[in-house]
Symmetry: C2
Subunit: 458 residues, 2 copies
């Protein structure tokens, strides 16, 4: 009621001076206050992590997640909720993998996780000598003669001096995605990588890897940071070091699954869509709390806030829980295809897939200065610690809207990145590592940007 | 070497245009890179937390901390290290306290910590009916008739809608500091408070309380958040609720202790001092990791960085590990008195006492716009996430320089505040809650500001 009075007062004020910035400022404040007081994000995340658990595409967990997501969107007040069918890859880890290091007649178990998509080894495993490289160039220099029949250890560590940890990840992720292909090019029988993390613990970090049909498919695994150190040290002594790898993975036929979509409807006909989302699938370890349970529950909270505060007026709003971001992005492709086919105009897409940490800003695929109202948006978001509004990627899922909707503004939520790769794709990505206030502030930040876009976009 | 060449190139550039901003930018980058790669802060904090442990003024821990601090400053490369003697309060908790809630013939233990400075109860405890208030005004309204002989429960919770958690703390801390005095004014026999935290766990949070000689000294304790909920719920039913309080605290004669001070010396005579510091003492629970182990090891790292990178040129530098911030600030008073007595000019003081979290900025007691070079400093620090350079307090310790050195710039390091009150003054303030990169980024931020001040101050 106080806000209605304030708004009325400001409307009167409008007769002498434009007051929209003041109104917007009041609305952003209402969003933050409502979210900090009554947000559903943290409680939703607890249920998603503890009752659904991890949820790789095609798994039982992913089926439970779809049912959960539908109910959560209804509870958040969506005008309609629907499931968009999509066929997704279905890979299973099977029995736990093992890596044994053998040097000078001694054996030692290393901590490891098979990479997502890896083939199985024979049940007796693969045993071979290890050759270590830090770059593709080093591998090329060794050549087939020194690599054939061996296991390649890709050991390019994170550069600790990067301020933004995603830059470290970006310069190392080729090892995981492309390592098995590169190893096979030179006749290797398997590959292991140093986990993509800064943190000095021994939790291995999985993630997607690729094969090409023209080369043998060799198993790929990630070693824990300390295990990778142990392997590096053994090799540094110039001894012959062997690894025995055992993986029990299998790829099943593609599975039926769904994007889960909640909508709020505009009060004008043929309104374009503003979409917000995260991905519902996760890796098959831990609980997918930061990656991307956080983005999912924040997106649901954005819908709740916009409904509760009456902020969906000029545009239709969709909250999309994308399926299969981790190993195929089939859900995002499907959504973009269908939106194009049905000729549904999209004006804005926002993704949260960088963890549930304290807010820092947003990246935009277009130069922020080219976006309508951005000066005002900058000014309105700065008091909430959202200083970093810069050019950059939106996200894997929302990025698929780029081609069909080239005029759409696409954005990624950017929380603080220091702790993200501690838990990314690891057993340690659990609910307890998410802070209730940091998570809620992210949701409020996202809702504020959605609202401001709904005001400023044509 | 590359930096020397770059600097030389820039100096040549100077002949056509002033390039100091570029040089400064390169230096700030060197500070961050050196700190992220080789910082001592995290390893120092592990030793301080795990080998010294908590270290309340006058305790055995505080003596070990002084010895540790002296060695750490020498190892960091200080030109000289010395101990500044100071008499400090010496309070001991004694045997663990207990709070038992008695309602309808049932007894239940509540989680509690005696507040720092509290008196002991008789060994059999104090048992009395509870009266709950949320403000001093409510207590006044109840008056002596309804309060006399009872235990006052101060139950004003943190306001979750404050963005900056220190604002919540600021509006609640009167309960802890002043509660026992207010309770005694109306004849109460004891007081308990809801712990000063956002987090929904049951770890009680201690901290300093005060008495006045003109009123009886009644014991004061903090209840865990969930225990406070239980007490609130019992009272809400309108039943008579009694508490039995037992505390075993004692105040001993003031003890001998020290500020630990490391110096770097300028290359010009009679150079003024720039000082950086945190407090070496902590509460007597947990490990004082964020409060203020973080500030201590960051300040030592600032000295190390300035020595290693040759940044102490125009000013003398002191890193001060203040004793007794928590319950008396005797160390800070002593330092300021002695500096005034010896007529040592002070140009800048920086304090880190808000936790070892990801950097956000600095507050300045003067309007930042009034500080020489602040525009350039803003511009140079923004790429490191240090956007929040605003007017505000410096810190309890550095603040004592205000009176003797009114021209000095006094500043406080401001990391993200969302997680601080989860652990503040509680058993949970341990090493494991500090993130290595967040801690290091803070130290690099502080060193950068110290360096920029040394360039821009007259």
């Amino acid at each position: 009621m106080i806000y209605r009075l304030l708004s009325a007062a400001i409307l009167v004020g409008c007769l002498v001076a434009p007051a929209t910035a003041q109104e917007d400022s009041i609305t952003v404040r209402r969003i933050f206050q409502e979210c900090l007081k009554n947000n559903t994000a943290y409680d939703n995340l607890r249920v998603l992590c503890k009752q659904v658990g991890h949820r790789l595409s095609g798994s039982e967990g992913s089926k439970k997640a779809v049912i959960w997501g539908e109910a959560a969107l209804k509870a958040a007040g969506a005008d309609s909720v629907w499931l968009q069918p999509v066929k997704v890859p279905h890979w299973e880890r099977g029995k736990p993998e093992s890596v044994t290091m053998k040097v000078s007649g001694q054996s030692r178990k290393l901590k490891a996780l098979a990479l997502g998509g890896s083939v199985a080894t024979p049940s007796s495993g693969i045993e071979a000598e290890v050759v270590m490289v830090k770059s593709k160039e080093e591998l090329e220099q060794l050549g087939r003669k020194k690599v054939e029949g061996k296991i390649v250890f890709f050991n390019h560590p994170f550069d600790d001096t990067h301020l933004r940890t995603f830059e470290s990840y970006g310069s190392c992720v080729w090892q995981r995605v492309d390592g098995a292909i590169q190893a096979a090019r030179f006749g290797a029988v398997g590959c292991v990588i140093r986990s993509l993390t800064h943190i000095r613990d021994d939790n291995p970090h999985t993630g997607v890897m690729q094969y090409v049909d023209s080369l043998p498919k060799v198993p790929g695994l990630a070693l824990g940071y300390l295990s990778a150190n142990a392997l590096e040290e053994a090799l540094a002594k110039g001894q012959q070091v062997k690894l025995q790898l055992k993986t029990h993975c299998r790829t099943l036929p593609d599975a039926d699954s769904y994007n889960v979509i909640g909508e709020l409807h505009a009060n004008r006909p043929n309104a374009p869509w503003l979409v917000v989302g995260g991905h519902l699938d996760s890796w098959d370890v831990g609980e997918g709390a930061h990656d991307d349970g956080a983005g999912v529950v924040q997106s649901i909270e954005v819908l709740r806030l916009m409904k509760k505060l009456g902020l969906a007026q000029r545009f239709n709003i969709r909250c999309i829980l994308f399926m299969n971001e981790e190993n195929g992005a089939k859900g995002a492709r499907k959504y973009a295809e269908e939106a194009e086919r049905k000729n549904e105009p999209h004006a804005f897409g926002l993704e949260s897939d960088a963890g549930g940490f304290t807010p820092r800003g947003f990246t935009f695929e277009k130069l922020p200065e080219s976006i309508a109202g951005m000066d005002r948006i900058r000014y309105l978001l700065a008091p909430y610690g959202l200083h970093d509004l810069s050019k950059g990627g939106s996200g894997v899922d929302v990025g698929f809207l780029r081609k069909p909707f080239p005029m759409a503004v696409l954005s990624g939520y950017r929380p603080d990145s220091q702790r993200y790769f501690d838990v990314h794709h690891a057993h340690t990505d659990v609910f307890e590592t998410v802070h209730p206030r940091e998570l809620a502030l992210g949701a409020a930040s996202m809702a504020s940007l959605m609202y401001l876009m709904s005001i400023h976009l044509p």
